[in-house]
Symmetry: C2
Subunit: 380 residues, 2 copies
């Protein structure tokens, strides 16, 4: 018999979370996480499911019946989108201008898709002309794009133009809205997006574990009429249909507490109002950006592609970015992240999301960065 | 602009959970769920990951390095096992004596496996002779079996005999321990199980969302040397290796709060001691079983295959089981479940798991059932 290990009571440090996620969780959301469980087939839980679906529709700005939380973190809702929509042998067009386009490629390939790409440099959005050219060349069945690139801090404009091009070619559009949902203008129906997925721990400020997904009827018809089974049982929407649809039959055990938390996070969105929330994110991020510019940092993307929820900035010449990040964590318990992929070592990624997007956090971060620069001998 | 829906504050009913899961959550576990988040790459979180792995090894009674929580509910850890171990074209042997053997079949097929079966009636365990005959006939590469069948309340004995047969044929053994881990004797290394998966919401009494998985080195070598990519990106152990292994590199965002909760649940296991915990489950379930027999219920499986964590009982002649379940929920807020699959309408499934396996719950349930029988005109 092996002996039990000895562990101390859980006591995580108190961090100010200003990285690319998770963001800080609202106290009301933390509170509902300690509510006792009820069964995942209990009538009371089914009512909670209905409410979560309704609140998600509002937050996505969609009427899609198929609007659900997937039982996993953001990458699970992402894979649910690709694994269900893509059938073996179909052509899938994905972007190369950020880390998450690469992940789309890997997921589409595992679903059996043939992947082709549309290019733009890291730190820039896709150009509609390039997307149109890629459609003319490859005639893809599915087109994935990233609305808010967490790796580059770039907001994709022209979304309606992109979806128009795709629909002229009878393709299905999957949008990554992980870092935009609930923080940046997003209108799924008006912009004619077929499928959008997101995560909890960004602008919704919800602990990760139940991740938003919306699928329109046209796409769900494709999914329900596939020639081959979806390659994941856990993420198969035709099976999840039994649980989240009319029947409410058992498929798998839902992450009950995470559904409670998502409901409360979405209720906070509804109470604040979506447009007011977008405006708050922009206002707080403007304060942050201005402060950073005063300290010598420069926004990496062009101003017109600025993503308020994730500010990618170049560090001033001579500043050691790793040392600065360590200093912020060590001296101030602040989390901020460095670059990822092609921008590793070139930028800092500073989140301004959900409950973290408030004056206290911004002032504290700016003061801490100023101190960190001074510690490296940079006086303002 | 769509208008926000109006919802009330979350207020789930207080249930006494005595069904097949979720079980009730220990107050200490509920408490840590409201701890503030830290980043999934934070050094403090990595320490928590290490502790969870160590505690899981103890609970599984294994030295396997590859012992991790999968970022989803129990079906996600189940699919991680099958999706990684099974390669397209391999033969997979699964049982037909319960609901979860059927799920194994579906998952193995989606991984590209050719499925063959070994039969036993619902309500009975597999016989080693039948397993040996199936091996001789089909020479499978992978063999899945269910240690504790939640649909039938049957405990599979002879586990070492089953794994011996499989290993004589160089096959890999995957064990479903969803309803046994932390409640019923289970010794992964001593019994020579290659892969075991479980869930949080059964005998660990943890909210579902981070699900235990253990894989031995021999199997991990197979996984890391696959000819084809795993068909799910989210569940690919060769990628998760970067996050849970030495490197601690970013793969996906872990369900941070669920990992906190699992840690606390496992700490409660370690404090109680695994053997004492198995004994408590047996003792409480004996009390329950005796009480039920006094009320005219009969255990469905033979006594030697009795699964203390999930008691499958036949209702006395003339009792309306649906009416009884409704009565328990309506009058007492108690959750108990009916049969599933081939045993639908024939049995009740009464859980005795984790924090729910305590005298208060058992006495309350027995009193409520007695009352429910009286309401149907059955006097004892």
């Amino acid at each position: 018999m092996q002996q039990p290990p000895e562990t101390e009571p859980l006591n995580p440090p108190e961090r100010t979370l200003m990285g690319p996620g998770p963001s800080e969780v609202h106290p009301r959301v933390l509170r509902v996480m300690s509510a006792p469980l009820i069964g995942h087939l209990d009538a009371a839980f089914i009512e909670i499911m209905d409410e979560v679906q309704e609140l998600l529709r509002y937050t996505f700005q969609t009427d899609n019946k198929w609007t659900i939380p997937v039982s996993g973190t953001g990458s699970a809702s992402m894979e649910t989108a690709f694994a269900n929509v893509v059938e073996p042998g179909e052509t899938v067009l994905v972007p190369t201008n950020g880390y998450f386009g690469g992940r789309m490629e890997s997921m589409a390939e595992r679903a059996g898709g043939d992947v082709v790409t549309v290019d733009a440099p890291w730190g820039e959005p896709l150009q509609p002309d390039d997307v149109a050219a890629a459609f003319d060349e490859h005639d893809p069945d599915v087109f994935g794009f990233v609305h808010a690139e967490t790796s580059t801090g770039v907001l994709q404009p022209h979304v309606s133009e992109l979806t128009s091009i795709a629909h002229e070619h009878d393709a299905y559009v999957i949008a990554d809205t992980v870092t935009s949902l609930g923080g940046v203008e997003l209108r799924v129906d008006e912009w004619d997006i077929d499928v959008a997925y997101s995560g909890g721990q960004k602008c919704l400020s919800c602990p990760p574990g139940a991740s938003p997904l919306t699928v329109n009827d046209r796409t769900m018809e494709k999914v329900l009429n596939r020639d081959t089974e979806v390659r994941s049982w856990y993420l198969d929407l035709s099976l999840l249909e039994g649980y989240w649809g009319e029947e409410r039959a058992y498929h798998h055990t839902a992450p009950i507490t995470n559904v409670y938390a998502l409901r409360e996070s979405l209720q906070l969105v509804a109470e604040e109002g979506l447009e007011a929330r977008w405006e708050r994110h922009r206002e707080m991020a403007t304060k942050l950006k201005t402060g950073l510019e005063d300290l010598g940092f420069e926004l990496n993307p062009d101003d017109e592609f600025w993503l308020p929820s994730l500010n990618a900035v170049r560090v001033p010449d001579g500043v050691d970015d790793t040392e600065l990040l360590d200093y912020l964590k060590r001296e101030y318990d602040i989390e901020v992240a460095s670059g990822l992929g092609a921008l590793e070592g070139e930028i800092l990624r500073i989140g301004c999301m959900g409950y973290s997007a408030r004056p206290q956090n911004i002032e504290f971060l700016l003061a801490a960065i100023e101190d960190g620069l001074e510690a490296q001998g940079f006086d303002q």
